[in-house]
């Protein structure tokens, strides 16, 4: 009998971490640790994840002159004038944003078409298509970057390494992720919804426009977001195919030798908090909407 009472279902369903422990004295702390070991561990892990972010945030306020390595003093100057002395940072950020938007639009459009073809139609050579789509996700970035560079070099004078080769490369490796994401969303669509639309006098085009597309839209949006993040943060493939053009990650890497200027930290931290804010807001909106009007 005692065995049953010791291991009741309350263990399995314990949600949350206990805050006020039972018992008295120094035992309390040990008991609290024991019961909440998992939560403590998880908190440590999250702390570990955010440690560099904290560092970046702190040092974005550093009154550093040339190299932002040692803490000199607190200043808001970096945040007020993020483009700094040479403006290189801003150029790099702007390039990253432009490349990101362009490659996202292209990859999302092309990828969505492919996803529909895969999920909704029958055609021959499906295996080959699946392999071609899957391979970029399994290929190391070094290989993709280097081989694409070889292609551009072999094209001789026709192609100069720069903005457009970066865009081409980014679309290339984003396509697979877009396709997989949108395809999953299409697959989860209830087939009877489109049947209902047709039953209610919608022809094929109207069914697509008024029922299919709105319902697939969240998947397309997620794919676009994914494509943008992949593009913005990419270093390896970019570095092979960019020539002299700088994107933000490339700028950071190359200035790592000399010492990264504080403005870079400003952008890094700023982007982080902006993105975090957007995501958390989106989550809040979602919760409010699902609770009903």
């Amino acid at each position: 009998m005692s065995v049953l009472t010791r291991t009741g279902p309350s263990r399995a369903r314990a949600v949350g971490c206990r805050r006020t422990p039972a018992g008295t004295g120094g035992h309390r702390i040990r008991r609290w640790l024991g019961e909440n070991a998992l939560c403590v561990y998880a908190a440590l892990a999250l702390g570990y994840l955010f440690l560099p972010i904290a560092y970046v945030t702190v040092f974005s306020f550093n009154d550093a002159k040339r190299s932002n390595i040692v803490w000199r003093g607190f200043t808001l100057e970096n945040w007020e004038n993020p483009c700094g002395a040479s403006g290189d940072v801003c150029t790099a950020v702007r390039t990253s944003v432009e490349v990101g938007i362009l490659s996202t639009v292209l990859a999302t459009m092309l990828g969505t078409l492919v996803a529909f073809a895969l999920q909704r139609y029958r055609f021959r050579g499906r295996t080959v298509v699946n392999v071609i789509i899957f391979m970029p996700m399994a290929t190391p970035e070094v290989v993709m970057g280097a081989s694409l560079l070889t292609l551009f070099l072999n094209m001789g004078g026709v192609v100069t390494l720069g903005f457009w080769t970066i865009v081409i490369a980014h679309v290339m490796f984003s396509l697979s992720f877009v396709i997989v994401t949108v395809k999953a969303r299409i697959a989860s669509l209830d087939a009877s919804l489109e049947e209902a639309a047709k039953d209610l006098y919608a022809n094929d085009l109207q069914t697509f426009r008024r029922v299919t597309l709105p319902l697939v839209a969240p998947g397309i949006a997620a794919a676009a977001l994914l494509a943008f993040s992949l593009s913005f943060d990419d270093y390896i493939v970019t570095t092979f195919n960019s020539g002299t053009v700088n994107t933000f990650p490339k700028y950071v890497y190359t200035s790592a030798q000399r010492g990264i200027p504080a403005q870079v930290y400003v952008f890094g931290a700023g982007m982080f908090y902006l993105a975090l804010l957007i995501v958390l807001l989106g989550e809040l909106l979602r919760r409010r909407r699902s609770r009903g009007s």
């Binding site: 314990a14 390595i69 895969l118 055609f123 190391p140 081989s147 950071v252």
Partner: protein, 308 residues
Amino acid sequence: MSITSVSRVNPTRPGGNRRARPARSEARRRHVPYLLLLPGLLWLGVFFVVPIVTLLGTSTQTRVPGGEIGEFTQTLRLANYWDALSRYQEHFGRSVLYAGVATLAALIIGYPLAYMIAFRAGRWRNVLLVLVIAPFFCSFILRTYAWRQILADEGTVVRTLKWMHLMPEGASLTATSFAVVCGLTYNFLPFMTLPVYASLERIDHRLLEAGYDLYGGPWTVLRRVTFPLSMPGVVAGTLLTFIPAAGDFVNAGLLGTTRTQMIGNVIESRFVDLNDYATAACLSFLMMAVILALVLVYIRRTGTEELV
């Protein structure tokens, strides 16, 4: 009332045996998928498949003697592969070692984190998941560089460790293999955590309750019920961590030295700095082959069919 039994009626069928729809729209339908596929596949074909195939061709070329740097001719010299392998076997080994240790560390850190989010988080689940991927919102180069600063000799962490006598005086954490593995673990931790979480979340809670009901303590249930059921997630996470980690060169570049170089670094330097395209190409394919072999062995051993 009489009974009406309708089982077989053979009326005249005026035009009733007409088959499919008019042929014209049928043909148009058949071409639609190919049109949809064309742009995307063309892009991948030209900018991915062709380069890889070209790289394959490059791998068997040799330098033109007395020619410019970067000038190669096709000689179909398969010995290039052997040369590259024997010359850089140390780097291959190191890459596998670092990636392996990093994957293991990511599992040790990530599994409890995923477990906590799946089973203990309740309403905060989505927020916690966002927090797990949030670090990606900051450039990973920047974060990796931040680690170098954090682990620097003048930094707080090292100074505290030395003050607590946990580290010998002359030692340094940067430019060590320890730092490289730390960086790898850190950067790929979410890749391990999220698939494991997805797998844990799908476990039917009643199975766990059955385990407790059958006199299993918490550890026993974890070992014999939860962990085996989460294997697909563990396998997926391991692959998603190991494969990119083995090919990475950023962590080794920023946090290590020439003594801790991974195969990715070698490929990059061979290609960009030394224009030794043939060797770089060989190394690329060798790396892919090594990774593939390890992955196949791993999958065979864990025996899971579904990876997602």
